[in-house]
Symmetry: C2
Subunit: 358 residues, 2 copies
């Protein structure tokens, strides 16, 4: 009995000694669902990087398995699956939940809204993230920025858009607020999961679609069917999001919570860099590799009509939902300040250096 | 003896059980030296955030103490102190070591060079970070991007610059390549540590200086003495750097290495956001709060002369240093591609939306 007693004492001492660091040794296995198929770079690289960083930082103790849409088959149900706990985490775009709650949409981007610098400054230093969390509290999930694409292209069209008449009756995949704007202008608007875009265009289910930018669009092959490629207006700084089940996050040791949040911030910034690099590369070779692509800008009367319809759509939501109004007002007030600085810094530099850089 | 033997056995078992996780429990105490005084936000927030993130992720086991220039008194000797091991880490701007190795300068920024999006894409996805590491290998330190300011303002002048004649004989604080460009145009150029800028201007040691942008400049008070505030040309995307003593980094457990690298990436992105937010805020209130500030742009002949002198300065370094040429060529080739995409995305969006956003 003495021996056993001693052993028990020693083991108790051992457990005590180990106790302060137990948190950092806890084995945690999570699953993360993405809206995207696993091959869709650079979007998927943000979640994959988060998983790798978290594993590296915890000596392989906190493992996040990342499932693409080809596996879980529910690309546009990420929020429900994270809320319900089938997946501890998700990676998607907030505006896919506009049907549940319109305010979610404007954390992604709004037509004629902020660019990426402005939106990041608003999110991290202008109260945006607190508002986003307030919005997602009702779903019992934590929401974090998950990668910004910068200015997206306006989409691929089979035919040139010469006037507002050319929009009438057009069948187009364009999500969220921009979709409602086009609907006001007579477009038959639909949303389609990313994995089914090419097939829908090929089969004539749609006549036009918007996706992201040259880095992601060209390898999808849209230009083979719809070669008119329009400049951006509707998604000037599309933000993806990481969503995390609150109960799952709150039960993590504090070290793992810190590791996960830090990894999310690092991977989120990185996706913006990679997307820009991919688009720069694709754009620079597009004219020679794909000479059939016709780069277009919308005529000014069409742009003006889009702006007017945007104000109407946003105004209607704001009139019936005080929280939508609060978030929109916060964005617009920040943008008004920030745009002046954008003009003085980035825009002025690009214009002036163009005059002297040959 | 039996008891002691049992205890020893049990303790051995305890040590064995803890062994695989020892790495994550190792107590590490580092010191980091900054070029900046401790109050200089947002620059200091990048190192302070790194320290906090690393501590949080390791349960307080990996602690980095951050010293401002007011303490170590050697703001422009960070590289030497990190190389020599007096500090395991430093936070500074690479172009302060141009005197040791000209190539270090162009990892910060070059006049008429890339903007922040372009430079980040080059660093992380265009081979830039590998070249930067190759450059810093000779100092036995690891180098990481440490925060980008975006387009900096061209600086504060006592008098208006109406022509190239007004630059001749002017005493100005302006570092690095831009300083050499101004020297070619007849300016008496000097570099002065950040903490001594206001005093130097006040005492007439200098007639003009450049610092960063409205978010950081206005609280320094330069406008009281030199109210002509010029638009940017010389530092379109100034990158700060984290420098780490190689031996110190290599001796860290792999979990801590991963935590440190992830924290650096997250804090680096964050500093860009905070700096933009600060500048947007300061710019929006500047006209009413400081009506004596005169916002100016350099006349086109002056800008053209700056561009010509920039090409000469960079060309001279490239002619005598093959590695300088390799890095410069890499930057210029990337910028050529990337600028086309910048024009199609950011620049086009800003121009066009201006027409319809009232």
């Amino acid at each position: 009995m003495k021996r056993v007693g001693t052993l028990a004492l020693a083991v108790a001492a051992c457990v005590l000694a180990a106790a302060p660091t137990f948190a950092a040794e806890k084995k945690v296995r999570w699953n993360m669902a993405m809206t995207w198929n696993s091959t869709l770079t650079p979007f998927v690289n943000a979640p994959l990087q988060v998983a790798k960083m978290v594993s590296d930082m915890t000596g392989g103790n906190f493992v996040i398995k990342v499932d693409g849409a080809e596996k879980h088959k529910a690309p546009l149900e990420i929020l429900d699956m994270v809320k319900g706990g089938q997946f501890e985490m998700g990676h998607s775009a907030s505006y896919y939940w506009k049907g549940k709650d319109a305010t979610t949409a404007i954390f992604t981007t709004v037509p004629f809204g902020m660019n990426a610098d402005e939106q990041n400054a608003w999110l991290y230093y202008g109260g945006g993230m607190a508002l986003m969390q307030k919005c997602y509290d009702k779903f019992d999930v934590y929401a974090f920025p998950g990668g910004n694409t910068g200015v997206q292209m306006g989409g691929w069209f089979r035919k040139e858009i010469k006037s507002l008449d050319d929009l009438k009756g057009l069948k187009m995949r364009i999500p969220s607020v921009a979709g409602e704007v086009f609907a006001k202008l007579g477009v038959n608007v639909t949303n389609i999961a990313p994995g089914e875009l090419y097939t829908s265009l090929d089969r004539g289910t749609i006549d036009a679609l918007e996706w992201v930018g040259p880095g992601m669009d060209i390898k999808m092959g849209f230009h083979k069917i719809a070669p008119f490629y329009y400049a951006g207006w509707h998604e000037p700084a599309t933000d993806l999001q990481f969503l995390i089940n609150k109960k799952a996050f709150d039960s993590l040791p504090p070290e793992y919570q810190a590791a996960l949040k830090t990894a999310i911030k690092a991977a989120t910034a990185d996706m913006h860099f990679e997307n820009f690099a991919m688009s720069a590369e694709a754009w620079s070779t597009m004219k020679t590799e794909f000479p059939n692509i016709k780069v277009m800008t919308f005529p000014e009367p069409v742009l003006a009509a889009m702006k007017k319809a945007t104000d109407e759509v946003l105004g209607e939501y704001a009139a019936k939902d005080p929280f939508f109004k609060e978030v929109l007002d916060s964005q617009m007030a920040f943008m008004k300040k920030a745009r002046q600085w954008t003009k003085m810094s980035e825009q002025y530099y690009l214009q002036e250096s163009e005059k002297v850089v040959k």
